[in-house]
């Protein structure tokens, strides 16, 4: 009787173990929302343009942050904490972004925010978040003043301790583009156009400054109204200027038609822009004539980063309808930085969130360091990413192709 029982028990144990292993082997499919069940829910706010012209970039930000939260939940990365994304649409408008910041501050379960896309929107949100000691990590803001103050050229002063970013700044992006245009592309006469916004005007400014230092000549400047799509008069001015290149500080919804209309006006010269135009939509809007146009963007090309390949595969497996776009990797890393900071705070407080969790998370962010999608993620004394890589992309046969990468090591 006992012998039979022993066999039965052993068989049952073995079968049970095999069943468990079988369950374990199916761990990969689905269930990415599974959190800690009875633990605490921490909300990571996301602010990005989810409607309007810049939707492609905004949805990439939202989805990538969502993927980070789901990955953390699946791995039970922070014991007892389930992460949830709360995404708000700023429509690319500073005033809407500021309202969103107030909404996120009012929700006490929000312990960090990923976003925004636009530097001008970022400017409008910083003070609101800082007053509430709520940490903000932008994957895409490149305006230097956001981290280094309005006088960053002469005296760098960090305006807000709660603001961080994973993307590098236009203090590097503009000169990097100028160096490529002047030295590699051998263009010496530039016509500079911008959209008068914080990002566009700032980037055009840093490009122009470096281009002139190198010996290049600015043969014309213009500002456009981003609410229109008729740039024919500017295109004519470009044609008549004798420029051999156009630099545009702004975003792809305007850059695409601008490039097209410049070529149609008879100036068969490349248009160059920053990360704001590095989206496939630019090529669609600019048409076949965009071959030869250039864009700089933050980070190294995806194909050079094994960590980025995993992100791309996971993003695809997660089934998001929209592309992760230019800032996907940076958005994932921004969200993961918040997750790391929350983990640090929870670990330091005996496995629970403290009462002053927001302040503690903001404090912890300064020392966050991990190997992310885009490389090593950490922040300097201004809240800027320590990893400062940039890549020049050229439109070739209707697609962006990486042509040169650089790393700032100063």
């Amino acid at each position: 009787m006992r012998q039979r029982s022993l066999i039965a028990i052993t068989a049952a144990l073995a079968a049970g173990a095999l069943t468990l292993t079988a369950c374990g082997s199916r761990d990969d499919d689905g269930g990415s929302d599974s959190g800690s069940g009875d633990g605490t829910t921490v909300v990571i706010g996301v602010d990005a343009p989810l409607t309007g012209d810049l939707t492609a970039l905004g949805l990439g930000i939202k989805n990538s942050a969502d993927l980070a939260a789901k990955t953390a939940n699946k791995q039970k990365y922070v014991d007892g904490v389930t992460f949830k994304i709360e995404a708000l649409d700023d429509q690319g408008q500073p005033s809407v972004g500021q309202q969103n910041a107030a909404k996120l501050v009012a929700d006490k379960s929000v312990l960090g925010v990923v976003g925004p896309l636009n530097s001008s929107v970022g400017e409008s949100m910083q003070k609101v978040f800082d007053s509430a000691r709520l940490v903000e990590v932008s994957p895409a803001n490149t305006g230097p003043s956001l981290t280094q103050g309005p006088d960053w050229r002469t005296k760098k002063v960090r305006p807000y301790k709660s603001y961080f970013r994973t993307a590098t700044t236009d203090a590097i992006q503009g000169p990097f583009a100028a160096q490529y245009v002047y030295n590699d592309a051998k263009k010496k006469k530039v016509f500079v156009i911008d959209d008068k916004k914080t990002y566009g005007a700032g980037l055009a400014g840093t490009f122009t400054e470096e281009f002139k230092k190198l010996g290049g000549k600015v043969v014309g400047t213009e500002h456009i109204n981003p609410d229109t799509k008729d740039f024919s008069s500017v295109a004519t001015k470009v044609k008549n200027s004798g420029a051999d290149v156009v630099y545009y500080g702004g975003e792809y919804p305007q850059a695409g038609p601008l490039s097209k209309q410049i070529k149609e006006a008879g100036a068969k010269i490349p248009l160059v822009g920053g990360d704001g135009i590095k989206d496939d939509t630019f090529i669609k809007l600019a048409g076949a004539g965009s071959d030869g146009d250039l864009a700089t963007s933050v980070g190294a090309p995806v194909e050079e980063l094994d960590s980025a390949k995993k992100f791309v595969a996971d993003y695809k497996a997660a089934g998001y309808k929209e592309d992760y776009a230019a800032y996907g990797g940076y958005s994932y890393d921004s969200a993961w930085a918040i997750i790391e900071a929350v983990k640090k705070v929870v670990d330091d407080n005996g496995g629970k969130l403290p009462d002053d969790a927001r302040a503690k998370v903001t404090e912890a962010m300064q020392n966050v360091s991990f190997d992310g999608v885009t490389g090593k993620v950490s922040f300097d004394e201004f809240g800027d990413a320590t990893n400062k890589q940039l890549t020049v992309y050229a439109v070739e046969n209707g697609a962006f192709k990486a042509v040169k990468s650089g790393t700032y090591t100063g």
């Binding site: 022993l6 073995a14 030295n183 190198l214 050079e304 650089g406 790393t407 090591t409």
Partner: protein
């Protein structure tokens, strides 16, 4: 039934030692026990192996080494005295530190700079190899070949370095920062004075 124990003691309820051996030849019993134990052990091993197999890290193909540009740091150190040569004139020399963070050894096959009007040389001269987790100090010397074509005061000048490891060969720009920019501009002023455009 209050106050009475189970009619038959269940498994694990015995207070004192095993029950008396059931009747039967002792040799047969021992064989049966051995069979049972062997079966149990085999099943346990099977279960264990299965568990370990299913719980193993996801089998991946061998991870390729990083691209050389993702494994190398190149940072500006300080100006240094220009090595004297019989054929070359004065120049601006500075030291950089090249470190390989990970992956296989990285060879610098070429070290260049993008500006017309300047030439570049290094010590050690390319090609040279640096092992992983090590740092190599390199002296770079820039010489002005044509003042008219030299840059005035580049804000973020860089070096173009061709890097090779077992994964790839790449040209990568290293932007050495404001100290390098300042020292380079000063050197250009000394070399060309007001002859720079």
């Amino acid at each position: 039934m209050s106050g009475t124990g189970p009619v038959e003691a269940g498994e694990g309820t015995l207070a004192h030692g095993p029950p008396p051996a059931p009747p039967g030849p002792p040799g047969r019993l021992a064989r049966r026990r051995r069979t049972v134990l062997a079966t149990a052990a085999a099943l346990a091993v099977l279960a264990g192996v299965g568990y370990l197999y299913a719980g193993r890290p996801e089998s991946r193909p061998d991870t390729p080494p990083p691209y050389p540009s993702q494994a190398v740091d190149l940072v500006y150190l300080d100006p240094v005295a220009t090595p004297r040569t019989a054929t070359a004139g004065p120049g601006f020399s500075f030291a950089v530190a090249l470190s390989v963070r990970s992956g296989p050894p990285v060879t610098v096959t070429r070290l260049g700079q993008p500006y017309a009007g300047l030439s570049v040389a290094s010590s050690p001269a390319a090609p040279f190899q640096t092992k992983p987790h090590s740092v190599r100090r390199i002296t770079v010397t820039l010489r002005v070949t044509e003042c008219d074509k030299a840059p005035r005061n580049p804000g973020l000048p860089f070096l173009d370095v061709t890097l090779r490891n077992t994964r790839a060969i790449q040209v990568h720009s290293f932007i050495l920062g404001p100290r390098y920019a300042q020292h380079l501009s000063e050197a250009l002023q000394v070399a060309c004075g007001n002859r720079i455009r």
